[in-house]
């Protein structure tokens, strides 16, 4: 076994939390059950990793198998990477039949003809998800297994999720290969990024509960399961306002769990407007700002602002449109000639 391959496997194993190593190796399936039994998984990770590499040496592992282990690791720990979403377009309505072998061949061919040295590995998962791992090289250097990009393509959809690497210059080539191999015409990057791959999928595949305007005939009191306080001295102030906020919030955000995104960014190029009495800035040029919202679970945080009294209900559509518009990067300019207070987002 190549020393570099052994080292790569060792480093990959070290990334895995100690208690998960056995499971991941089982998923990999390269080492036999008997071999796995012989490993002591309860020792210091460095030692476990060494034992694993020893066994891989016995089985003569090569870079192909090592690459598969890496894909499996990244599939399980996808949230460690930042994912961007791309959408492909094709003219004509005919749905093309997807041939997996054809797809794989075309991708490999396209990348190899341009760079000569690339390691391309595929793995299929449920829901027609194809994972592609690419280790980038150049016509003159071997592929660097530590500089990798990952692509997740759901073959029945026009969406591709890409976690690029430092070699951003290879992105156009990668996009081109994807378009050609999947029989589309072009591809564009959406303004949507997150660490949570599943949430990105939820958003573009519309798998979250959407806020349809529903006519709700039952009075709200029936729905609110808040028990009446036994102590009559406790009165709920602003009860009707609180209920209105809850209702509006539900309409705007929907009932179900929100897709998990960590940030949203708004580039504002709107006019600054103030109360004329205040005698402040009255420029004819935009008041340029960049606003970033961040949270471990942004949409849930935003949803809780109005009930907490920190925002009006309904919250601004600039924020609530994130799942529908499938974007979390916005550029907001002033709408010309219409009522003040309306914005356009390109």
């Amino acid at each position: 076994m190549d020393v570099a391959v052994g080292e790569y496997i060792r480093r990959t194993v070290l990334k895995i939390p100690r208690d998960e190593i056995r499971t991941v190796l089982q998923k990999w399936g390269f080492l036999s059950e008997a071999q796995l039994q012989s490993v002591n998984f309860h020792q210091v990770k460095e030692n476990t990793a060494r034992e694993v590499v020893q066994l891989c040496e016995e089985n003569s592992a090569d870079i192909k198998q090592a690459a598969v282990l890496d894909i499996i690791y990244n599939h399980i720990y996808a949230e460690k990477r930042m994912w961007s979403v791309y959408q492909m377009n094709r003219t004509g309505e005919a749905t093309e039949i997807f041939y997996l072998t054809d797809f794989k061949k075309k991708i490999k061919r396209r990348l190899r003809s341009a760079l000569k040295n690339v390691t391309v590995t595929f793995r299929e998962y449920e829901h027609n998800a194809i994972w592609i791992r690419i280790a980038w090289g150049t016509p003159y250097t071997k592929p660097n297994q530590y500089k990798t990009s990952y692509v997740v393509y759901h073959s029945q959809t026009p969406y591709v999720f890409i976690s690029a690497s430092v070699y951003k210059s290879n992105l156009p080539l990668l996009c081109q290969a994807l378009v050609v191999a999947s029989n589309y015409h072009d591809i564009r990057e959406m303004e949507l990024r997150s660490h949570s791959l599943n949430s990105l999928k939820d958003i573009v595949f519309k798998r979250y509960s959407q806020n349809f305007q529903t006519y709700c005939p039952r009075p709200l009191q029936d729905r609110n399961v808040e028990p009446e306080s036994a102590d009559l001295r406790i009165i709920q102030e602003n009860r009707s306002e609180k209920e209105r906020i809850q209702r509006v919030n539900r309409e705007v955000f929907g009932d179900g769990p929100q897709p998990k995104i960590e940030f949203a960014q708004y580039k504002l190029e709107t006019m600054f407007r103030s109360d004329p009495k205040m005698d402040v800035l009255d420029k004819k040029e935009p008041f340029r700002c960049l606003i970033k919202f961040s949270s471990p679970h942004l949409l849930e945080a935003l949803k809780s602002l109005a009930p907490a009294g920190m925002a009006d209900a309904p919250l601004s559509p600039l924020l609530t449109c994130i799942p529908q518009k499938a974007r979390n990067y916005f550029r907001i300019r002033e709408k010309k000639g219409l009522l003040p207070g309306s914005f356009v987002s390109p």
């Binding site: 606003i291 919202f293 949270s295 809780s304 009294g309 925002a311 919250l315 601004s316 600039l318």
Partner: protein, 346 residues
């Protein structure tokens, strides 16, 4: 009788409790005297502050020395007056502190086998760092790692810096008995463990008391307003305000960055008195920013907590961390920080 404002022996540093005793000041008060500083009494925030003097273009009094304060992250402390401190004995203090550090290290804090921890202490005076002639010259404490005999690198490595200073600290030094030296502001850069050791020695030796300097949202908004108005030669960086909303089910952070020209244009129309800034003007400036934000997002930023302010001349955080970015405004920022430190002591 010699205790003064000291609270007693403490061998460890106290962390910020986040509660600077500033009462909300009434914005419609009459303005303070045009060329005398409004006194902050009993922790009350002044209704007006004199702007720091415009930077002198030939402020070249050894820029090397004050340059060491720039572009580093400093943790701020307030320090009660030092008893029987003399800047004629700095060499002696260096020796004593050096011995103290060696003794502390002997006590068994993180001992690495084979590594010689020979810490050299240098205490010097920085007379350039003061506001008026009444101010005590600043005192700089530097800890360097002496190269061990076996080390090829013969250079000393600076590992920790601390600076006691007072810029326009007359409020404190005015009525102070002779034996006391007033240097209410302390800046520390480097490992917390060294800050603790150095602080303990000073506390024991000069009967003083260190306390983390917390910067309230009110004072941060003063900084935002005052620093936005400062003229900067080169292209300035954005004026950034960071708000935190911790009490939601999911924490939320909001970064609000404004183009420096637009921020300054707004401030210039708000600030009407030459040479002075009033609470009212700061409030109007912040309200303008809040209402612009509210217009777009329907969120009340005033209900959130301002935790960080970043401008081209300096950045400050609520937990008492500062970064100086422009040498011409160094004294001005130190003057404001000295005022906050005195406020925390009294």
């Amino acid at each position: 009788a010699r205790r003064g404002a000291v609270l007693g022996w403490v061998s460890a540093m106290e962390s910020a409790d986040g509660a600077v005793r500033t009462l909300p000041s009434t914005g419609r008060l009459s303005r303070g005297p045009p060329f005398g500083r409004a006194h902050g009494r009993f922790g009350r925030s002044p209704s007006a502050r004199v702007l720091p003097p415009a930077p002198r273009s030939q402020e070249k009094a050894d820029p090397q020395r004050t340059a060491l304060l720039l572009r580093k992250q400093w943790t701020l402390y307030s320090v009660t007056p030092l008893y029987r401190f003399s800047d004629a004995h700095l060499r002696d203090y260096s020796r004593l502190l050096s011995a103290f550090i060696a003794a502390e290290k002997q006590k068994g804090l993180a001992v690495e086998v084979g590594v010689e921890l020979d810490v050299k202490v240098a205490i010097s005076s920085l007379p350039e760092l003061k506001g008026s002639n009444q101010d005590q010259a600043a005192v700089l404490v530097q800890l360097s790692l002496r190269p061990s005999a076996s080390s090829k690198n013969s250079e000393e490595k600076l590992i920790w810096s601390g600076c006691f200073c007072s810029v326009s600290g007359d409020d404190l030094s005015e009525n102070m008995p002779e034996d006391f030296t007033c240097l209410p502001l302390f800046l520390a850069n480097g490992a917390e463990s060294y800050t603790s050791i150095v602080g303990s020695w000073f506390q024991k030796t000069f009967d003083c008391y260190f306390r983390r300097l917390a910067i309230s949202p009110l004072n941060l908004s003063w900084m935002a307003a005052m620093w936005t108005g400062c003229k900067v030669d080169r292209t300035a960086s954005a004026v950034e305000l960071v708000f935190s909303v911790p009490c939601l089910p999911q924490p939320l952070d909001i970064s609000y960055a404004i183009h420096p020209e637009d921020a300054k244009a707004l401030w210039d129309t708000v600030q009407k008195t030459p040479g002075e800034v009033t609470q009212e003007e700061v409030d109007v400036f912040m309200d303008c920013l809040y209402s612009h934000f509210h217009r777009h997002f329907k969120i009340h930023l005033s209900a959130t907590k301002l935790v960080k302010v970043s401008t081209a001349i300096a950045s400050a955080q609520c937990d008492g961390i500062i970064k100086f970015l422009q040498s011409q405004y160094l004294t001005g920022v130190l003057m404001l920080l000295t005022e906050l430190a005195i406020s925390q002591i009294q």
